[in-house]
């Protein structure tokens, strides 16, 4: 299931849990678990933009990270996909 989830993400890079669940015929909770596992095991990496730097002290606007949740398939993930 993990490989299928990763493959599906590669195929459909902008996804919702529901669209993945429909495609993989599992529940949304299951997709959520699979995503967490893939991140934990280093196949998928959540991007947390480090917007703030020392330059921010000269800048007046927000440094809170955006709620846009982007990820990247790691080289380990790419290797897994190419070998499966």
């Amino acid at each position: 299931m993990l490989v299928e989830t990763l493959r599906e993400i590669k195929r459909q890079p902008i996804f919702s849990k529901k669209s993945l669940a429909d495609k993989l015929n599992v529940s949304e909770d299951m997709v959520g678990n699979a995503l967490e596992q893939l991140k934990r095991m280093g196949y998928l990496e959540e991007e947390k933009p480090s917007h703030c730097s020392r330059n921010c002290k000269f800048c007046s606007f927000n440094c809170s990270s955006s709620s846009l949740n982007t990820m990247v398939i790691t080289p380990k993930g790419e290797k897994l996909l190419s070998s499966n």
Binding site: M1, L2, V3, I9, P13, I14, F15, S16, K17, K18, S19, V26, S27, D29, M30, G32, N33, A34, L35, Q37, R40, M41, Y43, L44, E47, P49, S50, H51, C52, S53, N55, C56, F58, C59, S60, F61, N62, C63, S64, S66, S67, L68, N69, T70, M71, V72, I73, K76, L80
Partner: protein, 669 residues
């Protein structure tokens, strides 16, 4: 005394079960050698006392945290008579993953299917018998918060203590892994480890460092060539094995859930799907995004300016009068009165009076972001970005740039290729940051008071358009190459949380206030000194140092329709910080200060056409010093920072000149 161990995911209601079992008969300590809290308690049943140990809440029993190691060590080495696995019935898949690991440990497990009432409320129904059969362990539905099912749980657990039965469910991990487990079991069987051989074998295949370390201390094992070869072979395939084991556990959980859990048939098309069908439509997506942004700006003006706009202006005016009168009454030196009333109140005040508008704008932007719409906007823009040879993620850094270009440029770090990162960095300054808003607002109030929302929208839109155009040019010239894709999860739509929206707004407004009191104050002080020197000249006049600087620069802007020394010096000050443009105009236009007086002065100095031209220049020209410094840092090159400063100035100047010249040709004034 018999011991029962409680194990479960965080928030599964484990502590509530513990409290329901032990009442007030409990004490708290620490697990030896670690800082993890150890909770123990006792209860009596049929005259006999039982010990209960509440293990730390974990999602799995690996070696990723002290909590996991403490929990698994107690189950395997502490020899509890029964392990009560508290499972959250509303989140069954996630919780059963831990259960599968307990089954691998061959522990005597009773599952407390907790929060069963909440699951029923959500129409999640369990076939308890089937669940028990599939897992091979007794299941007791509980509502620990109401103490329901607790007596049954105690009875079932105590009955199990004396029974010599252990979970008989076997999870197959696939032929190659099962074979490897058997092989390892054989090699480990005669050793006196505190853990079961089969479990050690699984952990070795999962790459558990703790277990590897444990075995490295065993001399007889390490002298075995067969064992060494086996370990080498495992290590070569460790990622593959770990993945397969986790995968099989999920497969097992999925099968159990399919057989024993009935959920309400999820709508094939949810509300989110229905909305997405429209807002992410290939043809409608962009117009809808544009319409939403237009609505945001219209609302910003309707509420921030028409409803609340006068408040801050009046407050600043009144404050200025009070401070000025106090200074005059206390016979303060003339220069101090001038500095405070014309420099500080005129400069900083001119910036501060736009706070209501900024509050409303960032609240609305926060609502869009927290509702999940901004992710759709990025999705919709991805198609356009790709068509232009840009990476979709660039748009995310552009959205961040609407707040401030500094974090916007920092956000480009998430772009994988240097080509994408360079383009995103160089076009980010065209995103209209919040610091430019006061400039627009003064000119809108002076010339387009009834079309404020539309003008603001068009300026933001122009910023995006120019950024995309420059991105396309860069991708075809300076930075050629393949564009990589980006992965993003679209969250379901939800009602924005008041707290999140407020926090987003405060992040922006607090920074705005902070900067008004620091950078803008410093810039205004320097400009005021330049505006009153040399001594003897009329302050704020063409003959002051500031006036001379402005007079020297002004001819450049003549083709754009605002070749006055005041406008030139305003733009010059904007190189330090964009708010300084309006602070400077507030000071140099006859030293009148903020509010209606500044608007009236601007009306006299500009025409509607030159006002548009000036706003376009402010939008596009060289970003502030902090942004240039960030570009230098992110590109690690002074050359690129200089390039960014110069090319944006050129783009801004061309834009302003085109607006003014074409407008004049068309008969506008």
């Amino acid at each position: 005394m018999n011991t029962l161990a409680l194990v479960g995911n965080p928030n599964s209601g484990k502590t509530t079960v513990f409290n329901a079992l032990t009442g007030s008969n409990q004490h708290v300590g620490n697990w030896p050698g670690v800082t993890v809290e150890k909770k123990e308690g006792k209860f009596k049943f049929n005259g006999k006392t039982y010990n209960v140990v509440d293990l730390p809440g974990t999602y799995s029993l690996g070696a990723f945290s002290e909590d996991e190691i403490v929990a698994r060590d107690f189950i395997l080495k502490g020899n509890p008579d029964v392990v009560i696995n508290v499972v959250d019935a509303t989140n069954i898949e996630r919780n059963l993953y831990l259960t599968t690991q307990l089954l691998e440990m061959k522990a005597k497990v009773v599952v407390a299917l907790n929060m069963i009432d909440e699951a029923q409320e959500r129409n999640i129904n369990f076939d308890i018998e089937a669940l028990s059969k599939e897992l091979g362990v007794p299941i007791v539905p509980t509502i620990a918060s109401k103490r329901k099912g607790i007596d049954e749980l105690i009875k079932m657990s105590i009955e199990l203590i004396d029974k010599d039965i252990k979970p008989n469910v076997k999870i197959s991990y696939g032929e190659d892994i099962d074979r490897e487990i058997k092989n390892l079991e054989r090699l480990l069987n005669n050793k006196n480890f505190e853990y079961p051989s089969q479990w050690i074998a699984i952990k070795l295949l999962e790459g558990d460092k703790y277990i590897y370390e444990l075995l490295s201390n065993d001399e007889s094992l390490n002298s075995s060539t067969e064992f060494k070869d086996t370990i080498d072979r495992i290590k070569d395939n460790i990622d593959d094995y770990e993945l397969k084991i986790v995968d099989k556990r999920y497969e097992f959980v999925n099968n159990v859930v399919k057989k024993a859990v009935k959920r309400p048939k999820e709508d094939v098309e949810t509300k989110t799907d229905k909305i997405d069908k429209i807002v992410t439509n290939k043809w409608l997506g962009i117009p809808i995004f544009a319409l939403i942004m237009l609505l945001v700006f219209q609302l910003t003006f309707a509420v921030g300016e028409d409803l609340l706009g006068g408040l801050m202006s009046e407050a600043m005016g009144a404050l200025g009068e009070i401070i000025k009168n106090s200074l005059v009454k206390t016979n303060s030196p003339k220069w101090l009165v001038s500095f405070v009333s014309e420099g500080i109140i005129g400069g900083v005040g001119a910036v501060l009076e736009f706070i209501p508008l900024i509050v409303v704008l960032y609240m609305l932007m926060g609502i869009l972001e927290d509702s999940g719409y901004m992710a759709r906007a990025a999705y919709v823009m991805d198609n356009i970005m790709r068509a232009l040879g840009l990476q979709g993620k660039t748009f995310i850094s552009m959205i961040v740039g609407f707040g401030c270009n500094v974090p916007g440029i920092m956000a480009t770090r998430t772009l994988d290729s240097k080509k994408d990162r360079m383009i995103a960095t160089l076009i980010n300054p065209f995103m209209s940051c919040g610091a430019r808003i006061p400039v627009y607002l003064v000119f809108i109030a002076a010339f387009f008071p009834d079309k404020g929302g539309l003008v603001l929208f068009l300026l933001y839109f122009l910023g995006i358009l120019v950024a995309l155009l420059m991105g396309k040019i860069f991708s075809k010239t300076l930075f050629k190459g393949e564009t990589s894709y980006f992965i993003m999860e679209l969250p379901p739509y939800r009602l924005p949380s008041f707290r999140n929206v407020l926090r987003n707004m405060w992040d922006n407004v607090s920074g705005f206030l902070k900067r008004a009191g620091t950078t803008i104050f410093a810039v205004v002080t320097i400009l005021w000194i330049l505006a009153v020197l040399p001594l003897g000249v009329e302050p704020y006049s063409k003959n002051s140092i500031l006036g001379q600087i402005g007079t020297f620069i002004a001819p450049i802007f003549k083709p754009a329709g605002f070749g006055t020394w005041q406008a030139a010096v305003g733009l010059f000050a904007g190189l330090a910080a964009k708010e300084a443009v309006i602070a400077t105009l507030g000071m140099v236009y006859t030293g009148v200060g903020e509010g209606a007086a500044l608007i009236s002065a601007v009306q006299n100095a500009f025409t509607p056409l030159s006002a548009i031209s000036f706003m376009v220049m402010t939008l596009l020209y060289t970003p502030c010093a902090a942004t240039i410094a960030t570009i230098r840092k992110e590109t690690n090159s002074s050359k690129w920072a200089l390039f960014a400063a110069l090319y944006t100035f050129l783009v801004g100047w061309i834009g302003a000149v085109l607006v003014y010249q074409i407008g004049t040709l068309l008969g506008f004034s």
